[in-house]
């Protein structure tokens, strides 16, 4: 069965107003529960809006998180409440699977709100595997996602083998974000194709597809520009090429999810977002 092509849902008015057609055409929805929570992880109005839509459309829904901090050695204080909320949301939305960004966002009683890179060590593999096992109480099928890291610990290429070790140790699948892979390779100076060739393809269950942007050279004293995972532009050619490489290799692929942040949504963005969705659908059918 070919993979389903879906979109990452955003609860904002601007996202709904500009994507009416896509909201009806998407074959699958991805929901990020933590963006729908208020104090004490309680559902907000945005939560109800997305729940109404997904119940009306009756298409598969998958969960996606950013800040469970699956690589953190020091377990964040919020974890028990967070997990309970994920369990509630997995039931309410009927998540087919639940993914989380790889990395750590908590250490020394600080929270960065941004998953930071992990070194490719046995200790890091064990910590991530333990966190993913915990997440299974919310949803039996768990995935982790590669990040658009701006730096790395160890040889950049070693991350591909690290992903494979995490999959093995946690018996987990992988959400391969193609733009993040592109950004990571650009930022760390390695070839995207070589990196992709080393991934554990049989574990890739989902692809993320999005655009991004280059950082303003004035941000850094060196004048260097780095690639950011900003979800605010057309999918670049390099990422389409990566998708063409990915589709025949990812034999267990079940979904391709297109992403665009609401802060960057307007008429032109919505037109581009729909065009990227159509192109993804066409490619999946060709390779399906």
């Amino acid at each position: 069965m070919p993979a389903l092509v879906g979109i990452a849902l955003q609860p904002d008015d601007v996202f709904f107003a500009h994507n009416r057609d896509l909201l009806e055409r998407a074959e699958l929805f991805e929901v990020t529960p933590e963006t729908l929570w208020g104090s004490h992880c309680q559902p907000t109005a945005g939560y109800e809006r997305l729940l109404d839509l997904t119940q009306r459309r009756q298409v598969p829904v998958v969960g996606h998180g950013v800040l469970f901090s699956i690589g953190a050695v020091e377990e964040p204080k919020r974890r028990a409440a967070w997990l309970q909320a994920l369990q509630r949301d997995a039931n309410a939305f009927g998540f087919a699977w639940l993914s989380e960004h790889l990395g750590f966002a908590d250490a020394g009683d600080c929270h960065t709100a941004w998953p930071l890179p992990l070194p490719p060590t046995d200790e890091a593999v064990a910590i991530v595997a333990k966190s993913l096992a915990t997440l299974r109480s919310a949803c039996p099928t768990v995935l982790f996602e590669n990040n658009a890291d701006l730096f790395c610990l160890g040889e950049p290429m070693a991350q591909a083998a690290f992903y494979a070790r995490v999959c093995e140790a946690a018996d987990a699948a992988m959400l391969l974000d193609l733009h993040n892979a592109y950004a990571y390779c650009r930022n760390t100076g390695i070839a995207l194709r070589d990196f992709l060739e080393q991934l554990p393809w049989d574990r890739v269950l989902e692809l993320h597809l999005s655009g991004g942007s280059d950082s303003d050279p004035e941000f850094l004293p060196s004048g260097r520009s780095m690639r950011l995972d900003s979800h605010d532009g057309a999918v670049p050619d390099e990422v389409w090429e990566a998708m063409e490489l990915a589709l025949p290799r990812a034999s267990n692929l079940r979904a391709v999810v297109c992403e665009w942040f609401p802060d960057a949504m307007n008429d032109a963005a919505a037109t581009q977002f729909a065009a990227d969705f159509d192109r993804a659908q066409k490619l999946v059918k060709e390779f399906g």
Partner: protein, 110 residues
């Protein structure tokens, strides 16, 4: 130990010059393997600086999303808001996950 790697990185990302922080603190940290020490000292300084900037940007976003009055304050008096935020970011540990909590903590700095 991974815990020490993570503590050093987060502490570095709170500093104006994260690379300098690592260069000064990694050599004297005791609970690091040889590989961890080598990797931390070889981290890309540009990537660290940009990561620090993104973490501060996310904090700023939490404040303006968590409080309509803070958002209005930023629009009305951008320079004073920026000064308040700089002081807040320097003095308050990074602890909050949700916008309302970050915005409430920031209110003490207006």
């Amino acid at each position: 130990m991974l815990a020490t790697v993570q503590q050093l990185l987060v502490a570095a990302l709170r500093e104006p010059d994260p690379l300098l922080y690592l260069q000064q603190n990694v050599p004297v940290a005791t609970a690091l393997s040889d590989d961890e020490r080598k990797w931390l000292l070889a981290v890309d300084g540009d990537g660290l600086r940009l990561s620090r900037m993104l973490i501060r940007k996310l904090r700023l976003q939490r404040i303006v999303r968590g409080d309509a009055e803070a958002s209005a304050f930023m629009a009305r008096e951008p320079e004073r808001f920026a000064a308040c935020f700089a002081r807040y970011d320097r003095e308050e540990p990074l602890r909050h996950v949700f916008p309302h909590a970050e915005a409430e903590a920031f209110r003490r700095y207006w």
